[in-house]
C-alpha cells in the first residue's frame, strides 16, 4: 500500500494540473500582444464586476445612518463606524453559535457515513451495487419540497427536539448521497483492488480492512466532504425555514429577519451578510483547493 497512496487523485485535481503549453501565435508578434492585452483586460474587467457586490457590502456596512441615502451610495464612508457591525452581531450572535453547533456535527457525521458507504460501493461490492448507488445518488438532486411536508411530521413523531437537533438530523441524512459519491470516486481512484484482495487473503474482514487500511488514507476525501457539508448546512435556508424559527434556527433565518423588513437598515443588513458569510469564506480562502474538489464531485461524473 505504499505506492499509489502517495498520489491521491481528487475530483477537481485537473484544475490544479499544469495548463497545456501552446504557442499557436508567435510570441512577440503584434497579434500576440493585442490578444494578450485583450485577454487580461477582460479578465480584470470581470474581476471588478464579480467583486462589486463585495465592495458594496463592506463599504455600506461601515457607513453611519446619515450616509445611507440616495446620494453617494457608491462612495467610501466619510466617517467609518462599527455601529452597524455591533447591531448586526447583537442580532445574529446567538444564531451564529447555533449554526456552528449545527454545521460541525453534520460535517463530521455525514462524512463518516459517506466514507463507509463509499468504501463498500467501490471496493467491497455486491451484485446490484451500481443500481443501489444510483438510487442513493437520486436523493441528492430531489427538490426537498417533495419531502418537506411529511418530514415535519416525522421529526416531531420521532421526538427530535425542534431547531438545531432536527436540522442536524435532516442535513446528515440528505448529505449521505453527496458524501457517498465523493468517497466512492475517491476510493475507486486511489485504492488498488489488489490491496483489498491481499487483505482478504490475510483473513481481514470488512471492518478490519476499512479501519486499518482505508481510513488512514482517507484524509483528503474527508477534507472535501467536511468542507462541503459544513458549507451547505451553514448556507442552508430551505430546511431552516421549514423546520426552525428565529429563536432556535440557524443564521440564515436570523439574517433574513434582520434584512427582510419592509424598510431594512441596509448598513446593519450588510454587516450581517458579511458576518453570515465569514465562516464559509474563510473555509474557501484557506482550503480553496478542496472546496473545488467538492464542487467537481457535484457534477457526478468523476
Amino acid at each position: 500500500m505504499s505506492t499509489d497512496v502517495a498520489t491521491p487523485h481528487l475530483p477537481g485535481e485537473d484544475l490544479v494540473a499544469p495548463p497545456p503549453r501552446q504557442r499557436l501565435v508567435v510570441p512577440g508578434s503584434r497579434n500576440a500582444v493585442v490578444a494578450r492585452t485583450v485577454r487580461y483586460a477582460l479578465l480584470i474587467f470581470f474581476v471588478l464586476i464579480v467583486l462589486m457586490p463585495l465592495y458594496v457590502l463592506v463599504v455600506t456596512s461601515f457607513k453611519s445612518g446619515r450616509e445611507i441615502g440616495v446620494n453617494g451610495q457608491w462612495n467610501l464612508p466619510t466617517e467609518w463606524t462599527f455601529a452597524s457591525w455591533t447591531k448586526a452581531w447583537t442580532a445574529l450572535g446567538p444564531s451564529f453559535v447555533r449554526t456552528l453547533q449545527l454545521a460541525i456535527p453534520v460535517a463530521l457525521i455525514s462524512s463518516f457515513i459517506g466514507a463507509a458507504n463509499g468504501f463498500v460501493l467501490s471496493r467491497w461490492r455486491f451484485p446490484g451495487a451500481d443500481v443501489v448507488f444510483t438510487l442513493i445518488l437520486f436523493g441528492m438532486f430531489i427538490p426537498y419540497q417533495a419531502v418537506m411536508i411529511p418530514l415535519r411530521e416525522v421529526v416531531v413523531w420521532l421526538g427530535i427536539p425542534s431547531g438545531i437537533p432536527t436540522l442536524i438530523f435532516v442535513h446528515t441524512i440528505y448529505g449521505i448521497p453527496i458524501c457517498t459519491l465523493i468517497f466512492r470516486n475517491y476510493y475507486a481512484t486511489i485504492v488498488p483492488v489488489e490491496i483489498i484482495e491481499a487483505s482478504k487473503v490475510d483473513g481481514a474482514g470488512l471492518l478490519r480492512t476499512f479501519w486499518s487500511i482505508i481510513l488512514p488514507i482517507s484524509m483528503p476525501g474527508f477534507v472535501v466532504t467536511i468542507i462541503w457539508q459544513f458549507t451547505s448546512s451553514w448556507n442552508d435556508y430551505l430546511f431552516a425555514i421549514f423546520l426552525s424559527n428565529t429563536r432556535n434556527g440557524p443564521i440564515t433565518i436570523a439574517l433574513n429577519a434582520l434584512a427582510g423588513a419592509q424598510s431594512p437598515d441596509y448598513a446593519a443588513s450588510m454587516a450581517g451578510a458579511l458576518i453570515t458569510s465569514l465562516p464559509t469564506l474563510l473555509v474557501y480562502i484557506l482550503l480553496g483547493r478542496w472546496f473545488i474538489g467538492g464542487l467537481m464531485a457535484g457534477s457526478v461524473k468523476n
Partner: protein, 327 residues
C-alpha cells in the same frame, strides 16, 4: 467518456478506474456469498434504510397527500386522484401556478444561458494558463461560498428600482455614467423581472461552471492540440473544430447542474424580493401554500417540481452509469 476528462491514465490504479469486482463468476454456495457480500450490505444498510424512508418513503407520502382532499389543517376528506393537479392548471386563482411556471421559465433561460456563457468565457480566457491564474479563479469562484440569503441582501440593494433622480444601486452608476437609458426596474418589472432575478444567481454560479469547463479543457489530450498545431490550424480552427467539440460532456453536466438548481430556486428569491406575486416560482409557491395549511395543494406543486427535476436527472444518472460501465 465519463472518465476520459477526469483521470489521467498514469494515475489510474492497476485494474482501471472502474470499481473492482470482489466477487468471482461461477457457482457459489449461498453462505459463502453471504460471507462475501453480507458485511458490505450490513455496513451500508443504515444509510439504505434512512434514504429508503426519508427520500423514497416521504416522496410516496407527499404523492399520496397530493391526491387527497385536504386543504386545511383537518384530516383529509377523501381521495381525489389527480384533481389537485388539474386544479393547478385549470382552477388556480389568477392562474397563479401558470404564472409561477412562466416566471420560472424566464429565470431558467436567463440563468442557464448566463452561467454557461460566462463560465465558458472565463474558462476560455484562463485555460491556457494566465499570469496569476489562481487569483482570477479564486475571485471568480468566491461567490459560490456565499449563501443566497447573504448575497440576496446586497443584490436587493444593487437592483434598486429607482431611476433618474431617485436612482440607487446599479441604476445610480448608469445615471452617473450618462447611461440613463439602461436604468430599469430590475426584478420589479412585471414581465421581465425574473431575468433580473437571475443576475445574482449568474454571479454566484458562473465560477462553478468555469471550474467545470477548465477541468474539461485540461482533460483534453495534449496530442490533439499538438496534432492541430502540426497541421497548421489557426487558433480559431483549433477551438472551433478540435477543442469545443470535446467539451460536449462538460456542457451536458453544466446544463444538468444549473437546470436542476434553477427548478429548485427558493433562497435567492425569498432573500431578494421575499414572497411576492411578481417573482413567485413554484418552490416559493409551495411554501406560501403551506403557510395557509393547504397541504394537498402544496404537495401537488412539490410533486410537480419533483417530476420535472426527475425528467432531467434520471436520464442523466442512467447515462453516467452506462458510460462508467463502458470505460
Amino acid at each position: 467518456m465519463a472518465t476520459n476528462t477526469q483521470v489521467p491514465a498514469e494515475v489510474r490504479p492497476p485494474g482501471g478506474s472502474q470499481p473492482g469486482r470482489t466477487h468471482r463468476p461461477g457457482r457459489m454456495h449461498w453462505h459463502s456469498r453471504l460471507r462475501q457480500w453480507g458485511p458490505g450490505l450490513l455496513l451500508l444498510s443504515p444509510s439504505l434504510i434512512l434514504l429508503a424512508i426519508f427520500v423514497y418513503g416521504l416522496i410516496g407520502w407527499t404523492i399520496n397527500l397530493s391526491m387527497q382532499d385536504r386543504h386545511t389543517a383537518r384530516p383529509s376528506k377523501g381521495f381525489v386522484g389527480l384533481d389537485n393537479y388539474v386544479n393547478l392548471f385549470a382552477n388556480d386563482i389568477s392562474d397563479r401556478f401558470v404564472h409561477s411556471l412562466k416566471n420560472l421559465a424566464v429565470f431558467t433561460v436567463v440563468f442557464i444561458g448566463g452561467t454557461l456563457l460566462l463560465g465558458l468565457l472565463w474558462a476560455f480566457l484562463l485555460e491556457r494558463g494566465a499570469k496569476a491564474e489562481g487569483v482570477f479563479r479564486t475571485v471568480y469562484l468566491f461567490p459560490m461560498a456565499v449563501s443566497f440569503v447573504a448575497s440576496g441582501v446586497v443584490w436587493r440593494w444593487l437592483m434598486n428600482a429607482g431611476t433618474g433622480e431617485n436612482a440607487g444601486g446599479i441604476n445610480a452608476i448608469f445615471e452617473d455614467l450618462g447611461l440613463g437609458f439602461l436604468e430599469n426596474p430590475w426584478w420589479t418589472h412585471p414581465n421581465w423581472g425574473m431575468a433580473a432575478m437571475a443576475m445574482p444567481a449568474i454571479w454566484q454560479l458562473s465560477g462553478y461552471i468555469m471550474a467545470l469547463f477548465i477541468a474539461g479543457f485540461r482533460g483534453i489530450s495534449h496530442d490533439l492540440r499538438e496534432a492541430a498545431y502540426v497541421d497548421g490550424a489557426t487558433s480559431y480552427q483549433l477551438y472551433r473544430h478540435v477543442l469545443f467539440p470535446q467539451l460536449t460532456p462538460t456542457v451536458l453536466s453544466a446544463l444538468i447542474i444549473t437546470g436542476h438548481m434553477s427548478m429548485k430556486m427558493f433562497d435567492l428569491i425569498m432573500s431578494v424580493s421575499g414572497a411576492q406575486w411578481i417573482t413567485e416560482v413554484p418552490a416559493v409557491y409551495v411554501w406560501q401554500t403551506l403557510l395557509t395549511s393547504d397541504y394537498a395543494k402544496s404537495a401537488a406543486i412539490s410533486v410537480f417540481l419533483l417530476v420535472v427535476v426527475a425528467l432531467v436527472i434520471v436520464p442523466y444518472l442512467v447515462h453516467v452509469n452506462r458510460a462508467e460501465k463502458r470505460s
